[in-house]
Subunit: 320 residues, 2 copies
């Protein structure tokens, strides 16, 4: 049995779902996960505490600094790594600048597990290099399609394949708006409905203008080709008029990514609805592979993070 | 760069496609594969030879013992391991009794990669145990859905999930017959057509009576639950009268497997045709996950074997 100490950074929906899944799976395939610290914007709880209690306080009071029974520290991200010295840093925040924290972690031989897209999309080469030097690992299953394991599939399987093309629907908020438009609403009406239901990101442009899908496409390009794309294109859904069978589709091929609305054939596996994402992966030997699953939600995302923690604990190699 | 020596056991369609893929990928993710020996029913070629030349001789003369330029050995399987001393034994034969060879390999710390179903279906517990003792590994991606990575998905991902149910179409020959019946043929006519096109196994009962799909379901049960099923059911397609939307479906849940013809809904992802296989995996957090891809063919199967060789070379952990 192997015990690993994890620091959870960010304690929103995903972080809290992760704490649930960890407590439901005290030991999995010989790995025991000990939550050593939890950090939100208000501070860090560290040491001997009950993660489910911290979750409850967070849900009731909105911040973990409201915890009465435990000391709450005000670490800077760098101090968090150096003081707490976890085995694994788990970033389930949406902090754009988290790359600098991963750098510190990897240099200290702390593996990084993350569901946070920009740091991977922008700095994967640097992170791989640091991980290689320190024999730590970087795992990021839930950055694309949440816990539906497209990263594991591309990164650890298909090792003899040339990936010719990936076509994927990776953003459920635009699917929501487009399917509402299919049933007769205008873009504006559908947009307002999505907003009122909490379907959109805080900055709705990230969904509507394809920024979220673009980060994801970039990450897929990294794992498929080991390099960043040279040519990129990003068109959101604001200009869609006839939404019939249209989805916001990311296309990835060697050197190129594009995100734009595409009209799909009636029987296309990409014609998903609800929170489902789907990807078609075309390779030289396998032809067409389809993976479809939920692409968001607290437990769905936390599930991928959980698998990554176990992989980090078992020192899973990262071929790509 | 890490070089691994592999012994290929069996040199039919899959073995020959594997030799092609290896020669097209001389080095992948830091792993170089050296084909150290190739064995067919006629003998073993070992040492310094050109695998593509052996392939050509096999295709022209039907046996590798026809090779003029190289010595051909008559090793017993056990001697093969002890004499050649490969790093990895690659079984792409259809030898039912291969388990005894795997035992010898694992005891000698030789990892096993196989596309051969019965030894895994019948002896997975014993093989895992031996692998654990010797720190070698057992990899078997291509036993189910060929190179479409359902084994990698279940074995190395979804580690925090409870697998509630798997529903899958895992045998393309029965799909061929059933789709022919859907377009008006009788079972007998469709069966004869399949036979004449070479779609069926040498012993057609393995397809028609669900034996092939049953082995695969059993392997899925092993990787989903770590134990063999207690309750099993197997019904072939001989008695199907109305084939409309019917496929031979394997169902796997904790303690139970069944293989039988099922009428599917019009829009079911399991309603595949041609060589496609498909699986729906239901879990507690992810809901429904769909994986669809080709389930057979030389290169498709060899691709999964290739990935497994790389995993064995990198000492990939096997959580399940």
């Amino acid at each position: 049995m192997k015990e690993v100490k994890v620091s959870i950074f960010g304690f929103g929906t995903v972080g809290r779902a992760l704490v649930e899944i960890v407590s439901e799976n005290p030991e999995v395939v010989g790995v025991k996960i000990k939550v050593e610290s939890i950090t939100d914007r208000s501070g860090t709880v560290w040491g001997d505490f009950d993660p489910l209690e911290v979750k409850e306080v967070k849900e009731n009071a909105g911040r973990i600094s409201a915890l009465g029974d435990y000391e709450v520290y005000s670490f800077k991200p760098k101090e968090l790594i150096e003081e707490v010295k976890p085995d694994i840093l788990v970033d389930v925040s949406s902090w754009d600048g988290a790359f600098s924290m991963y750098e510190v972690a990897l240099k200290e031989r702390v593996s990084v597990v993350t569901s946070n897209k920009p740091p991977i999309a922008e700095h994967y080469d640097k992170l791989r290099e640091l991980a290689e030097e320190s024999k730590a690992g970087v795992y990021f299953e839930s950055t694309v399609m949440a816990g539906t394991p497209i990263i594991g599939l591309l990164r650890e399987n298909l090792l003899g394949e040339n990936i010719e093309e990936i076509l994927a629907v990776l953003n459920a908020s635009t699917t929501f708006i487009l399917t509402r438009m299919e049933s007769g609403k205008s873009f504006e009406e559908a947009f307002e409905e999505a907003k009122s239901l909490g379907v959109l990101e805080e900055d709705p442009s990230k969904d509507i203008d394809g920024i979220d899908a673009f980060y994801k496409a970039k990450i897929l390009h990294w794992v498929a080709y080991g390099e960043p794309p040279e040519k990129t294109e990003r068109v959101g859904i604001r200009e869609v008029e006839d939404a019939k069978n249209v989805r916001l589709v990311a296309r990835v091929s060697k050197g190129e990514i594009s995100v734009k609305p595409r009209k799909l054939e009636e029987n296309s596996p990409l014609l998903v609805s609800g929170v489902y994402n789907a990807a078609i992966i075309r390779t030289n030997n396998l032809g067409e592979l389809v993976l479809k699953g939920k692409g968001g939600g607290g437990r769905v995302t936390a599930s991928g993070v959980f698998t990554d923690i176990v992989k980090a604990a078992l020192k899973f190699p990262s071929p790509r």
